[in-house]
């Protein structure tokens, strides 16, 4: 069968509405980093930078697509790509997974604690964050994959609704939104937009987290040995994680809109979402503030769960263990991550400030991930999914893969050149 030649029928209504693992993907795309970056963008530039969520999201989507194609072609887990290239990448990813999952989850518990602290300053960061971490752990230890997936779908819908309601109460300038979809440099003398794009890339390309989708396919048994079946699974999966990534942009809109409505007129750049919520109260009412804070809490909490899920899956993969959420190994990995991440709460770092630097540092990881992945999926043994210029679809796939690689290299290089 020629590469990319299958004529597939359009997705059924059931497939279009049956978002599953995409919501899990969305959970770690919509966390403290996403909200903090959207808040800063809204306060500085209104909605002029909304487009970055979709352009950078396309790069993230393509990288996720590469790991899915590899899994569908060979039936192997995503980290096998790195083991195949050289075992030294396994060590690199092991350290990266441990460090980033621990800090990533910690940042989310820290944000949960700050939200609770905004509602009641008497709650110490360590207590609020640990409570959030323990609640997340209970959900993962007691849950099974299917129910967790459903939980994330519901959380995503609630999140979008809460932020949209808060922004509407604040009198958000919605009419400016369509113009924000057109890529361009904001009309402002402020130069922060370059750094914001890099931070957003760190948040949306998400380093090694773009490898997670195949784990959810293994959980559900989505695998075919026939190219046509593989093409069908890929078609549905693309829609699924596409929606998950696009959700980050959708959630960002009301956050940017709220910041544009309440912070921009004062020339204030809120340092965090809780500060934005505090601004909302006197200007948009207590209900707007509460809606925003609940949304922020859920975003951070589900992102914390997302980090732990991703980290535990990666650990199972590294040890060639069976990828199962209900396994004892998965639960043990989750427990180690929750202890490690909750311990960092004693540092009391401003979570949003920390996450901004963290997303920048993530950008140092993804050029390596992107290079290895593009090298692997461009090999001729990729079967139906191999690079081919024999059809329009094949050319588009190559173009997108190269685009994702270039974005990864550009952002990674840009950030590293700042540090060194």
């Amino acid at each position: 069968m020629k590469p990319w030649s299958a004529k597939l029928p359009p997705l059924s209504g059931r497939a279009l509405t049956g978002i599953g693992a995409g919501a899990l993907v969305g959970s770690f795309y919509i966390g403290t980093g996403d909200i903090a970056i959207a808040t800063k963008m809204g306060a500085l530039f209104g909605m002029d930078m909304w487009w970055t969520f979709f352009v950078l999201g396309l790069a993230g989507w393509t990288l996720m697509d590469m790991s899915t194609r590899y899994y569908l072609r060979f039936g192997r887990t995503p980290l096998s790509i790195f083991k195949e290239v050289h075992p030294v990448f396994s060590i690199y990813l092991f350290v990266t997974v441990v460090v980033t999952t621990t800090i990533g989850a910690y940042s989310q518990w820290n944000t949960c604690a700050h939200v609770l602290g905004t509602l009641n300053p008497g709650i110490p960061t360590e207590v609020g964050g640990t409570l959030a971490a323990l609640a997340a752990t209970a959900l993962l230890l007691l849950g099974v994959y299917r129910r967790i997936e459903l939980f994330f779908v519901l959380a995503l819908i609630v999140l979008i609704g809460l932020f949209a309601a808060a922004a509407a109460a604040a009198g958000a300038p919605w009419s400016e939104a369509p113009a924000g979809l057109l890529p361009g440099i904001p009309e402002s003398s402020r130069q922060e937009w370059i750094g914001l794009i890099q931070q957003n890339a760190g948040s949306l390309i998400n380093a090694w987290l773009i490898l997670i989708y195949p784990y959810t396919m293994i959980e559900k048994g989505w695998r075919s040995s026939k190219p046509l079946g593989q093409a069908r699974i890929l078609q549905r999966s693309r829609w699924d994680y596409g929606v998950g990534i696009a959700a980050a942009g959708i959630v960002a809109l009301p956050v940017m809109a709220a910041a544009a409505a309440v912070a921009r007129p004062f020339g204030i750049v809120p340092e965090n979402g809780t500060e934005l919520a505090a601004l909302l109260e006197p200007l948009a009412g207590g209900s707007a503030r509460l809606l925003f804070l609940v949304g922020f809490f859920i975003a951070a909490w589900t992102a914390g769960i997302g980090w732990m899920v991703c980290g535990a899956y990666a650990m199972l993969d590294l040890g060639n263990m069976k990828v199962r959420m209900e396994s004892r190994s998965f639960r043990q990995a989750v427990l180690v991550f929750v202890v490690a991440s909750a311990s960092l709460l004693f540092l009391r770092i401003n979570p949003v400030y920390g996450i901004r630097i963290f997303t920048v540092l993530l950008a140092v990881v993804f050029p390596v991930v992107a290079l290895v992945m593009v090298w692997r999926i461009s090999r001729p043994d990729m079967g139906y999914f191999r690079w081919s210029t024999g059809s329009v679809r094949g050319v588009v796939v190559i173009a997108l893969d190269v685009f994702a690689l270039l974005v990864s290299l550009f952002v990674g290089w840009g950030i590293m050149s700042r540090f060194f």
């Binding site: 899994y71 441990v98 609020g128 609640a135 590294l318 040890g319 990995a333 960092l344 540092l361 079967g383």
Partner: protein, 203 residues
């Protein structure tokens, strides 16, 4: 679960707020009344005049006084004074920005004073307290990510042990097919379109 935690702790937002009218100018002050040490807060002022109000343009003077041993303004003490002109029908928003809570003073309550006067009139003074709460252990900047990153390296031995006990020996460098259970529903194998060629692939 998340909503339960929120419901358990939710109280009213803590912020100092005051609204009033001074010489035909509506004013509203909003300032957080707590701050983490080493973090910044802002004091907001909203001024407005109804359309057609008499008196033409009015000059409003604002001043924010705070204990200099506990807080530091980014723009220096002079930055805590402002003068704004406001026309009838106009709304102006202003913020005293970036008040940094200094960590050389222990957590406690500190007196603030916000004054507003219109023209040469008598100022209206609002007093409130800002409570400082223990802040981060490390300063802002690169250390705030390097310290967590270094500490998170401590989890590596735990995961090495985990992989040795639960994982396949040498699994970190062995490429293996994933163990995949039968799906509940192999939807991709249904409704084969006519004329599609049989494919290659592994069993």
């Amino acid at each position: 679960m998340a909503l339960g935690i929120l419901a358990l702790f939710a109280g009213r937002a803590r912020a100092f707020e005051k609204a009033g009218i001074l010489d035909g100018v509506d004013f509203r002050f909003i300032c957080a009344d707590w701050a983490l040490l080493k973090e910044k807060i802002n004091a907001l002022v909203i001024l407005s005049r109804p359309p057609g109000a008499p008196g033409g343009k009015k000059t409003v003077r604002l001043a924010l006084d705070f204990p200099a041993d506990a807080f530091k303004a980014a723009a220096g003490p002079a930055g805590m004074r402002a003068s704004l002109g406001i026309e009838p029908g106009e709304t102006k928003r202003f913020a005293f920005k970036g008040l940094l809570a200094l960590d050389k003073v222990d957590p406690g309550k500190h007196p603030f004073k916000l004054s507003i006067s219109v023209g040469e009139g008598v100022p209206e003074v609002s007093r409130f307290e800002v409570e400082t709460i223990r802040g981060p252990l490390v300063p802002r900047g690169l250390l705030s990510i390097l310290v967590p990153a270094l500490l998170s390296l401590l989890a590596i031995p735990a995961f090495v042990l985990f992989l040795r006990r639960r994982g396949e020996p040498g699994g970190w460098r062995i490429v293996k097919d994933a163990e995949i259970d039968e799906p509940e529903e192999a939807w991709w194998e249904m409704e084969e379109p006519a004329g599609e060629p049989e494919g290659e692939g592994r069993p």
